[in-house]
Symmetry: C2
Amino acid sequence: MIAKKMEGLVNNNSAIRAMFEEGKRLAAIYGPENVYDFSLGNPNVPAPEALNQAIIDVINTVETTKIHGYMSNAGFEEVRKAVADSLNKRFDTNFTEANIIMTVGAAGGLNSILKALINPGDEVLTFAPYFLEYRAYVSNYDGVLVEVEPDTTTFQPNVEAFEKKITANTKAVIINNPNNPTGVVYSEETIKKIAAVMEAKQKEYGHDIYLISDEPYRELAYDGVFVPYLTKYYTNTIVGYSFSKSLSLPGDRIGYLVIPSEMEDYKNIFAAASIATRVLGFVNAPSLMQLAVARCLEEKTDIEAYNRNRELLYGSLKEYGFECIKPEGAFYLFVKTPMADEKVFIEAAKKHNILVVPGSSFACPGYVRLAYCVSYDTIKNSLPAFKELAEELGMCK
Amino acid sequence: MIAKKMEGLVNNNSAIRAMFEEGKRLAAIYGPENVYDFSLGNPNVPAPEALNQAIIDVINTVETTKIHGYMSNAGFEEVRKAVADSLNKRFDTNFTEANIIMTVGAAGGLNSILKALINPGDEVLTFAPYFLEYRAYVSNYDGVLVEVEPDTTTFQPNVEAFEKKITANTKAVIINNPNNPTGVVYSEETIKKIAAVMEAKQKEYGHDIYLISDEPYRELAYDGVFVPYLTKYYTNTIVGYSFSKSLSLPGDRIGYLVIPSEMEDYKNIFAAASIATRVLGFVNAPSLMQLAVARCLEEKTDIEAYNRNRELLYGSLKEYGFECIKPEGAFYLFVKTPMADEKVFIEAAKKHNILVVPGSSFACPGYVRLAYCVSYDTIKNSLPAFKELAEELGMCK
């Protein structure tokens, strides 16, 4: 007998599993090159050669008991210092190793900080559409995730709706910028408005409200768009970062939390997040990978590859009559379905061997998400299928 | 403001931190070679050269997008198959990849299976003395850890006391064999008795009771002692394993869960534990390390190094008049303190630059734990200090 809290998750997982099986079934019939799978956010751009070299260098030059040994739950001090220095250089901040906790990816970091902060019944706000795992993360600590409804004209956070949703029980707000699933980058103007609302609400309710910035896509921003660093706009900000996309190593599970010294109750929050890392069973971020990424902080993934995909897929879909906002970051397109029920669209797309994720998986039905972190050829080859689909659905202009 | 559940953990952590600082203070005054730190279970035997070579081989021969990419939350299928095959060969079991979930160390595995099973208020039994983190792990899911009092003559599980502690609310039992902190290996006879009690209680209460076997020290067993493989004695058994000690890579966070097909509700439990791995933020066990350990399943740490330490430290302490059981496994000695208040002993030991962990940290006051995973020289050099301590406390025979 599994835990009651898990029952819904297990049932829901079967649906995702079914889609995965469908992809395999289609690939077996038509050949994998004729199935256009836009469902997974698994980067197709390989990790930079410098990362593999850094791993080999660490093995060849660092003492083995250190490479593979325990360290403080927050991570190696020199790795944390290297991360802080790199942030200071890029964002003109003033962090030290005392502000950095190395984590098991961004997902591990988010869980650690939520465990550190959330009491049962506390409300955590986030802006739809959002990565639905947030709901599970908050529920792990018996918090309640509260959705702020989207502004579907721009997919910038809906600040008016946000203000109304904050209550005396609001403990934290999660922001994901650049955004999954829309690819939108929240503007400085939006961030300033959010910060102003939160400052006012902190005063009104007489307690701290934390802004948790989930930033796995920070480095994936196109056309030089500005991605604000949130600790500079709001004091009680915690940043959760992952190297998963910037260095294409999602499987290795490495990221960090930034907990600024200026925060209220900084000392206890830093201690609590470190201990949460331990008691949740992470113990520490993988040691070899800590040492390796510290040597690759200036490395970048091949963003131009994603940019080419973006231009081709966005341009073509618009031409065929699909409705979507041009993404400025991440590697997702969020496309409006021509009928209210996205499931009808998804079934129609499947008949053309196109696999996409429903918007309801991001609390935003009537849309589908396309992950364009696939090969350029996959996109090129998928275009006739998209065109046929558009014609079939009467979408062409 | 941190979460209420974290407050006790943060306060308690300061005490551990204080001991760590004390070690650094003593090392600064007397030189690190004159401080005998037996407080940490961080293996001093380096990882086998074959592991470092396996990492380099993986990097040189496997496609980069695979090495560092996402895979199923349960882990790479071929890694899980290799683990199952290795278990089958060694323990005459019948596992397949469908029984293995790769985890972020044993701590990650325990958290995933507890999240999968535990409802608020469920009781989880364990045998004192035990690794105190179990309390935090169970509390993460609002379960209640119930201690079974120790049999201090043998430190085998106290089966009579165990039987009385099982109630209608008992959902699981955690066993740690070979044991931290005693070094005792639970005998086949003990295991059979525990299994018989649990079978009877399952019938009596009409619901499943799961045996969770935490086995990071399985390979650290001396003198050919037999360490029973628990799935062979009790059907509803889940094994949590870690490569931390067998391959000396605790920092890399890699282990696995074994969930046998014969278990009641196997399918849901396997699914729930995989999903728990995802929603707790582990997502998956570190990918490069999965591929590397799969190539090292027949590798062993240098157990003879630990054995030499064991013989020297145990033999000498007995000679000086200390009371303890000769450990058959792991790398710990659990020593009875000559006065009821172990804190008095710990302070006296500190004056001789000896650092040890109080038994109360394992729910067994009146004892201290010595981790002998240190260099042979540290042990040799510490002996005069132990002798002086024994003389000072009037313990010599």
